[in-house]
């Protein structure tokens, strides 16, 4: 028994080593490239480590240094845009989803079932179903190239999953706490605000984190909804720099590392809640 578990011990060790290399190597490679000069990055054989740390690519990304003239300066602006759009959509999604999910999970009202399934059904809708009409709707409302337009579209896309995660969190609460408070004379809104919300704070955190990560990575909607640079998120800016051979690959990799840094910090510190949220959101 002991020998068997040891034998599987080293096999597991190799497997975990592979897992770590597979998950981390592409990010490491971008980081490694971003800290090299263009000449080093184009040498053969490749440099597995930077020979000395060169931060000029990051200076270029944020509009400083000699390379900033080459179009890389737009990346700093794009980081701000991505932050505004994903934070805005996260806040709006969270408020609407939490309030709506509570009503669906706990309150009794006419048409509850029909409305609930109507919302849930949109969870299965792929991007295809709404892409062209949303572009046309936003164009006719004059919301193309605005933060508001992008935030509204993101929110409509994120709401079904956020509502579903919060719904399963509310369902998991024992109703006795709310019943006791109601008996003590608290109104439904008081029960919701003072008792339920504090308890489901972890669930709200999971929902907010997942929503924010979705917002941070959005591409096709902002590509379609923002043809000028003013509201362009990082993803769209990066894709337009890539492949044009105008901006050196070392700077593009530095910009990629900036785009990776925020999700990486979130994953590293808030990983548990992400896993909980994914599980709550997909076990249907």
């Amino acid at each position: 028994m002991a020998s068997r578990s040891r034998r599987f011990g080293w096999a597991r060790g190799i497997g975990i080593g592979l897992l770590v290399v597979w998950s981390l190597f592409p990010v490491y490679w971008a980081l490694n490239t971003s800290l090299q000069t263009n000449a080093d990055a184009q040498s053969s054989p490749v440099h597995w480590f930077p020979s000395h740390f060169d931060f000029s690519n990051y200076e270029a990304v944020f509009g400083a240094g000699p390379s900033s003239a080459s179009g890389a300066g737009s990346i700093g602006r794009a980081v701000v845009n991505t932050s505004i759009e994903s934070l805005g959509a996260t806040l709006l999604t969270l408020v609407i989803a939490v309030v709506g999910a509570y009503a669906f999970a706990r309150l009794r009202f006419r048409l509850r079932g029909v409305l609930f399934y109507a919302v849930l059904a949109t969870l299965t809708l792929p991007v295809y179903a709404t892409l062209i009409p949303l572009y046309k709707i936003m164009t006719s409302l004059g919301l193309v190239n605005t933060y508001l337009g992008i935030i509204l579209v993101y929110t409509s896309g994120f709401l079904p999953l956020a509502m579903w995660i919060m719904y399963s969190m509310f369902q998991a609460l024992p109703p006795s706490i709310e019943e006791a408070a109601t008996i003590d004379g608290a109104t439904t809104l008081q029960v919701f605000r003072r008792i339920v919300l504090p308890i489901v704070r972890p669930g709200m955190a999971a929902t907010a984190i997942i929503t924010f990560l979705f917002g941070w990575g959005q591409f096709i909607f902002p590509l379609v909804l923002g043809s000028t640079g003013a509201t362009q998120p990082l993803t769209v800016t990066l894709s337009s720099l890539e492949g044009r051979h105008v901006v050196p690959y070392t700077i593009i990799n530095a910009a990629a590392i900036v785009a990776i840094a925020v999700p990486a910090v979130i994953v590293f510190f808030l990983n548990r809640w992400i896993v909980d949220g994914i599980v709550a959101g997909s076990v249907k």
Partner: protein, 310 residues
């Protein structure tokens, strides 16, 4: 105690106030779900109806006016060789995407099933690719795949696996799709692993103990206990992989750079609607893709999913 409080409360609260509160509370649920319904109705359900309707309307910015055309859009897209190629490519993206992400995700889940020191950190590292934007992944992998300076070429050449540097994406159809698919697999494997891991952890430990007492080897336990019981997790992971591969766009947009060699259904739809401005044909493709997504998801669940009871 509670009963006493309840009785006092009933005495203290004047009747009229209780009734007023009751009436206000009947409107409350509707007020709470209203913002949700407005968003979903106006920006998800209504657009879907527009897509379904638009598929049967001639709507071409370069050839106005808009007019009803029956199945005209569908005929045009099926007569388009690039669309047919993108359909074939998307089928390959699905095969690679679902197959690789579920296999690799199951492998990772089995590795992480039992507790060990540093498991939390390994889990966090595993989740990382899932949390990154698809475009950014395309960008960093395209540098890895680079035909002149890429680490893949350099590494393979130094171990003698290739004689000269390769152009991984752009010439050969199957090879291009495989290498683009790998980037998406890198992104969605963590999701598959988490879903399979969640159902692995719902398996009671006694089953393994009993099997081990009966003399089963670890491999037998894996085959006879673990795999049958993780079917629900596998089913959900397969469906998620299917939907992601059917919708693959970001990685294709960045890595394939507009060539039709490895175009996907989504990149083709984008090109028809937003480059050629033929919205009608874009709607037709979108409707097909939407219906396919829903039908394939339901089928996959039906095939693999079995309710598991212990």
């Amino acid at each position: 105690m509670t009963a006493l409080r309840q009785r006092t409360r009933r005495l203290v609260v004047p009747r009229g106030q209780a009734i007023r509160r009751g009436r206000r509370e009947t409107a409350l649920p509707y007020a709470m779900v209203a913002p949700l319904l407005v968003f979903i109705g106006a920006l998800a359900l209504y657009p879907t109806v527009l897509t379904a309707y638009g598929a049967f309307v001639h709507d071409d910015a370069l050839d106005p006016p808009t007019r009803f055309t029956g199945l005209g859009n569908f005929q045009s897209v099926f007569n388009n060789a690039q669309v047919r190629q993108s359909l074939e490519n998307t089928a390959l993206y699905i095969v690679f995407g679902v197959g690789l992400s579920v296999a690799l995700g199951t492998f990772f889940a089995v590795l992480l099933q039992r507790r060990f020191r540093g498991r939390g950190i390994v889990l966090a590292l595993m989740v990382l690719p899932w949390a990154l934007p698809g475009v950014v992944e395309g960008v960093i992998w395209s540098w890895i795949y680079d035909p002149t300076f890429g680490v893949l070429n350099s590494g393979l050449k130094s171990v003698g696996a290739i004689n000269h540097y390769q152009l991984w994406i752009g010439t050969h159809q199957l090879q291009s799709i495989f290498f683009i698919s790998v980037v998406q697999v890198w992104q969605i494997t963590p999701l598959a692993a988490i879903l399979v891991l969640a159902s692995l952890q719902s398996i009671p430990g006694e089953l393994y103990e009993a099997a081990s007492v009966d003399g089963a080897t670890s491999l037998q336990s894996l085959w006879r206990i673990t795999l049958p019981l993780v079917r629900p997790g596998l089913a959900i992971a397969a469906v998620e992989g299917l939907i992601m591969s059917l919708n693959i766009f970001d990685q294709v947009y960045v890595l394939n750079a507009g060539a039709s060699t490895a175009s996907s259904l989504m990149s083709q739809t984008y090109e028809i609607a937003f480059q050629n401005l033929n919205f009608g044909q874009g709607y037709a493709l979108s409707l097909l893709a939407t219906v396919t997504t829903i039908v394939l998801s339901l089928l996959t669940v039906k095939l693999i999913y079995r309710k598991v009871e212990f």
